[in-house]
Structure formats: C-alpha cells, structure tokens
Amino acid sequence: MRFITEFRSSELAAGLLSQIRLKSRIPARLMEFCGGHTATIFKYGIRQALPATLEMVSGPGCPVCVTANADIDKAIALSQLPGVIITTFGDMLRVPGSRLSLQEAKAGGADVRMVYSTMDALKIANENADKSIVFLGIGFETTAPTIAASILQAKEKGIGNYYVLSLNKLCPPAIRAILDSGEVRLNGLICPGHVSAVIGSHPWGAIAREYHIPCVISGFEPVDILQCVSMLVVQIEKGEARVEIAYRRGVRPEGNLEALKLMEMVFEPAPARWRGIGELPASGLKLRGEYQQFDAELAFDIVTEPACEPEGCICGDILRGTKVPQDCPLFASTCTPEHPVGPCMVSSEGSCSAHYLYGGSLAG
C-alpha cells in the first residue's frame, strides 16, 4: 500500500539504526506518549534494536486506558436507562468498570452497539427516532473534531435524539503533568502523529522550550519511529530542545485549521479525570452552552455508585511510566487479553497488551 510499505522498508530501518548507533553517546530515556507508537515499537522489536544508551518508556497515550473507572461506570449507568442505545468504538466494550463492563451490560440486555464512526451513530439516531442514542466520546484531539462534526450535523439536520457523553481528553496537559511530577526523568518525547495532524506542532514547541526537552512528532510505521528517534538523538547530543516534525507527510506546523475550528465551536476546555494521573485542569472537553441539548451529562439523570479500581491492577502507574507490566502480579497470569483485569490489557494500544503479545523476545 502506498505510503505504508515504503515506511516499513527494512533497508531504510537498517540505515536509520546505524545512524542512531553511530550518534548516540549520551544515555537518554525517551517516552512515546501515544499508544499507537507503543504498538509499533513492540510489534517491530524497536526497543531491542536500539543501542544500550537509549531506553524507551511508554506514556499514557491510549484514550481507552486513561478513561477513569468512574466514567466507564457512568456509561454503564446510561446503558441501563430505558430507551437508551449506547454507541461506542470497539475497545471500550471490554474495559472493566468498577462492577461491570459494557459488554457485560450488553449481555444483561442493555442496547450497546459498536460503531466505526460518529457518522454510524448519527445514522442509528436517525433510524430510531423513539430511542435516545448516546455516543461515548472517547479520544484525544484526533477524535474530538469528528465528534464535533457529528454534533454540528445533528444540529443542522434536526436530529434531536443524539447525545454525546464527552470524555474527550487533550494530550499536552497530560504530558505536562508527567513532566511536572518528576517521577520519571525524560530526555526526549516522541510526540503523537495524528493528534498533531490536528493541533499542529506549536503546543509541543512550548513544552520543548519550557521543560528543555526535545520533542519530535512521529508517524506510525517502524521507519517513522526510527527517524524520530534519530532526530531526538541529534538534538540530545547537541544539547538542543526544539520541536521538529519527522512525520512531515501528515503533519503541518499549524495543524488542521478546519478541524480546530469545529472543535472550538462545539467544545470548551474543562477539567478531566485521567486514570493514574487524576484530575487535570483544562485537559478535557465539554460541550459549549449552545450545544447543551446534545450533552448526555445534562440530558440524563446518571446515578453511579462510588468507583473502585480493579484489585491488584497497576495500570495507573504504568500509564505514568513509573512501572512496567511485568511489575504487576496479575500480568499474564490472572490478566490476559482474553480475560483482561485492567484497561491496559484490553486495548491493542495498551502497554500490558503490547508486552503480552510481543513480549521482549522479538529482535531487530
């Protein structure tokens, strides 16, 4: 496939690896924020292929994993209301909440439907005028504009039975929280490619300056990641801290202005709860007053019991990069992708699932 196979070329990867080996002298720890990057890094054995000077840690960049249990409980409570159809992206179904997962709620009779796009959710709303359709708005800046677009469409077409439970999150505040905490010493950031396709490079430029940390925006193929690492190494060796775009075919410095415009029209920043990190100010999105009628939070009386975390699960520490899945006593014993205890084992972009599927054995 064009623009995919070229960036999986082993020849180009080998060239980049030899550059990295040649240049990397200063020991450095790099964090990939994005779960999509984690998946690529593990699938292609990139950690093992890098020289001993470079250590990689995974960050909290999986929207499913960072959704707080209290919010999953809310979605489940909504699914129990009469006449409500829950629509959601696939991964959310299997994430255990405090007591149930959405999948279990569905088995118990709730109407929960997996959709590929908010357009599908709108279609369901259109075809089921007597029901209330709630879309679970999970995702980062990549996804938020698509949710904004669906709300604008619902307004334009007068679809009055479509609601969004906005659990959207913004990436830069989470990275700042991790850097502020000082729990993990980091020397470079692999910044998310498709989040940046929307927000552009400037938010990372500010982080690079303020925290004096090199930030490079990467694509999702193995050659993209190696190119990004190589650019980070050059900055680290020179003592620089700038934002650079390795993923130039997909990301422009200004981002996607149209997507930002729609997002801004529909949403405003709000505090959000992150699993493992806690509540962060202005790190989430809520619907603006003009679009209140679509806000599931306001439209329904959502009653939940106090949330509790799955016993023994250390997803929170893993999301902050302070622990690795092997530190968890449940890893690969009680907790597997077939029977996940925590969200990091459910999502294909979660650290526990990446470690479980690809382990540490693949090389090159």
Binding site: G36, T143, R249
Partner: protein
Amino acid sequence: MCLAIPALIKSIDGVEAEAEIGGISRRISLQLTPEARVGDYAIVHTGYAISIMDQEEAEETLKILREMASLAEEPG
C-alpha cells in the same frame, strides 16, 4: 486509537467521498478537510479524513532516508 490510514480519494460527493483503503472502497467524510481533491491520499481516522497527505513531503522524506541507507551500506 488515534490510528489513521492513507486512503486514495476516488470521487467526491458533497462533504463525502468514495475512498480506497487497501483495495477496499469506503465512504469517508471530508467535513474536516474541505481542501481534499480526487487523487489525494487522505489520512482517515474513524471515517473522517483528518489530514491530506503531502505526497511531495513523503517523497522528500523517502529520498533523504534512502540516501542515508545507502551511506550506511558503504564500508568505512
């Protein structure tokens, strides 16, 4: 979850388009990329084009990486 794949835009019909992803035809929304044209590769996330692939930049990146790889092959 932010995964998005390049899809070739085959035809445009208002804010929607017919796009080919790995040999499969899909209907996508161009609501976030009004600049899209037939023949562009759109980066598609959950049914929406979120960015139009800059093909020149892609070629330029590949050119630089190929040069680097050929240098790496030469001994010494």
